[in-house]
Assembly symmetry: C2
Homo-oligomer: 424 residues x 2
Amino acid sequence: MKPNFSLRLRIFNLNCWGIPYLSKHRGDRVKRLGDFLNMESFDLALLEEVWSEQDFQYLRQKLLPTYPAAHYFRSGVIGSGLCVFSKHPIQEFTQHVYTLNGYPYMIHHGDWFCGKAVGLLVLHLSGLVLNAYVTHLHAEYNRQKDIYLAHRVAQAWELAQFIHHTSKKADVVLLCGDLNLHPKDLGCRLLKEWTGLHDAYLETRDFKGSEEGCTMVPENCYVNQRELEPFPFGIRIDYVLYKAVSGFYISCKTLRTTTGHDPHSGTPLSDHEALMATLCVRHSPPQHTHSPTHGGPAERSRLISVLKEAWAELDLGMAQARWWATFAGYVIGLGLLLLALLCALAAGGGVREVAIMLWTPSVGLLLGAGAVYLFHMQEAKGLSRARAELQHMLRRAREAHNLDPESQAALFLGQQEGDRSEEQ
Amino acid sequence: MKPNFSLRLRIFNLNCWGIPYLSKHRGDRVKRLGDFLNMESFDLALLEEVWSEQDFQYLRQKLLPTYPAAHYFRSGVIGSGLCVFSKHPIQEFTQHVYTLNGYPYMIHHGDWFCGKAVGLLVLHLSGLVLNAYVTHLHAEYNRQKDIYLAHRVAQAWELAQFIHHTSKKADVVLLCGDLNLHPKDLGCRLLKEWTGLHDAYLETRDFKGSEEGCTMVPENCYVNQRELEPFPFGIRIDYVLYKAVSGFYISCKTLRTTTGHDPHSGTPLSDHEALMATLCVRHSPPQHTHSPTHGGPAERSRLISVLKEAWAELDLGMAQARWWATFAGYVIGLGLLLLALLCALAAGGGVREVAIMLWTPSVGLLLGAGAVYLFHMQEAKGLSRARAELQHMLRRAREAHNLDPESQAALFLGQQEGDRSEEQ
C-alpha cells in the first residue's frame, strides 16, 4: 500500500419498512429505492427491514450491474430483515443472532419472530481490510415504560462484543443500522465506549439533512405522528459509525439524510430517513489504537460508569425474568391442581359438562405457563451471561484504572473536591 | 518477546457427565475431579456437561488457590454445560450459542434445552495471545439414522466460522471439547479444513492412553456397552485441537487419556475419558499462515470437496425442514376445520358431550402444529444461512483454485489421468 494511499467510500443506509401486507406502497417504494441506488452507485448499501426475501431478490436483479455482490442475512422465523449490496466483491460474511429479542407472546410486536441479528461483511479494498456490520436492534414501543430495555442493552452489548472480537485484524470498521437507540441512551453509549466507534453525524463538518440529524421525522407521511409528539424535530435512531486502527485515519467528509421525502422530493422511500455518508480513509502515522480498558483516565472513567449502568439494568432485567419464571411455576402448580379437580368432577357426574368444557382452558393454561416458564428461564440465562461478561470487563477496567498513576491523581483530586463539597 | 521464547501449556479436557439426578455418583466424581485438578495444576482445564451450576460453584471454591480464574458459560434453559478453570488471568471471554440444536419436542434427548454453545477465552501468556475455545456439539443418538446430522454439520460450520472470525489476531488457537464427531465425520473434516486446526492425537509422538485415542471406551463402567458394540476399541469424539500463526510454532509434546478408570485406577471420573495434553509453543521463522482459501492446490481440493459435501448435507436438511413446515401447515388447516366442526356439533346437540370432550385435543393439535410450523421455519432459515455461507466460500475457493497455475496443472494432469482410466 502506498504511503499516500487514500480511499473514498460512499455508504447508504436505510431501514426500508418492508413489512408484507402492512407497510404502505411497499412495491413502489422498493422499486424507487432500486432506481435511486442504481443511479447513485454507492460503494455499499446496507438495508434493514427488508422482511420479504422476494423484495431482496427483486433488488438483487435490478442492482446486479451496479452492485455485483449482495447478501441477505437469514434468521429467526421471518428473517433478520438485513441485506447488503456492494460494488466490491465480498470476501467473507457471517452473522450473529442476538440471544435475547423480546417475547414470543408479544405477537403484535413481532420482534421475537424476526431473529434480530448483526451481519458482518469482510471486504478487501485496495489492500485495506474493511469489516462492515449491519444491524437492527429491538424496537422501542413505549419510552416511558420500556419492557424491552434490558433486552436492548443486552443486544447492544452482544453487538459491541461481536464487533470487538471479530474486527481485531480489520483496518477499518463500519457499523450501519437502526439501533432503536437515541444518541444518549445507555445502549448507544455502551456500544460506543466499548468499541471506540465514532458517530458520523457528530464527526462530520458537512452535514445536510433533517434537523439534528433525525432519522424519523414528523414531516414523513408514513410516520405515526402521535409517537413523535414528545420530539418536535423527530428522533435519531439510525446511525453510521466507524473507526480505523492505528496506521489509518478515517473521517466523514459529508453526511446527508433525506428529510421526510424521497431524495427527489417525492413520497418518502420509507418511514425512516436514509443516511448517505462519504467516508475518507488515508494513511496516518501509527498511534495508540482504541482498546476498551486501556484508554486515558477520562475514557476509562466513562467506560466504567457506562458498564456499571448497563450491569445494573441487566440485573433489574434478570430479577424480572426470574419473577416471571417463578410466577409461571406457581401457575403450573395451580393448573395441575385444577385439572385434577376437573377430572374428579367429570367422573362424579353433576357438573360433568361444565367440568369437561373447562378442560380445554386448563390444559391451555398449563401448557402456556410451561412455555412461559421455559422462556423466562432462558431469558434469565441470557441476561446473566451478558451481565457476567460486563462484570468481568468492569473489573478489568477498574484494575487498569487503579494501576494508572494519572487516574490515581484524578481520583484523588475528585475525592478532595467531593470532600470539599460535602463540607460546604 | 525474546527470540528463544518457549512456552509450555498443560491442558485438561473432560466431558464430566454431570446431569443432576441422572448421572451416577455425580457428587463423588466431581469431588475427585477437583482433587485431581488441584494436584495436577494444569494451565487450563476445560470442562463440558457441568450441567449444574452448583457443581461449578463447588469446583470454583475448591480450585480457587490453584486456578484463580474461572468462568461458567450460561445459555439455553438449562445451560451450555461448559466451564473453564485457568491458572492464568482471563483477559476476555464471550460465547456463541449455536443457531440450530435439535428439536424442542425431542424432550428425552434434551439437547435443545441446553443451548449448546462455544465459549471463547482470551489469555495473554508472556506476551502471547492465546484464544482458547471450549465446545460441545449435539449428541449422536443413532449413527445409522441420524436425524441431527444437518444440525451437527451446521454447528461444526458455525464453530469453524466463529473461530475463523474471532482468532484473526491470536498467536495461538486452542479448541477443546466433545464434538460428538468421529475423526473422519463430515463435521470434523469441515472444522479442520476451514480453520487449519491440528489434532493433538494425530500430531503427538508421545501418546499414552486408550487404544486409538478413544474417549468413550467399553472398559468404562458408566458407558452404555450396547451403543459401543460396533466399535470394539470405543469411539474418539473428544478432541484437543490447536494451531499457531506465522512466527510461532506449536507442537503437542505429550498426550494422555484416562483408560476407563480414574487417573489412579479407581472408578472413572465420567463416562468420557479425560484428555491431558502438554503443548509447546516457540518462536519460528515467519512462514505462510493458514488461510482457508489460499492454501496449496491439494489443501484447496480437500477444502472444496468437504465444502461441497457439507453443502449437500445442509441442502438435504433444508428440504426436510421445509417438508415438516409444510406438513404442519396442513395439520393447522385440518385442525381449524375440526374445531369448526366440533363447535357446530356442540351447538347442535346430539353428540354434544363428545364434541366438547374433543375440544381439548383439537386445540392442542392446533397449537402444537403451530409451534412445529414456526420451529421448522426457523430451522430452514438457520440451515439456509449456513448453506449460503458455505456456498460463498466454495465459490471463492474454486476461484482461487482456477487462478492458481499449480492447481491448473494438477487439474490438467488429473483430467489426463481420468481420460486415460476412462479409455482403459
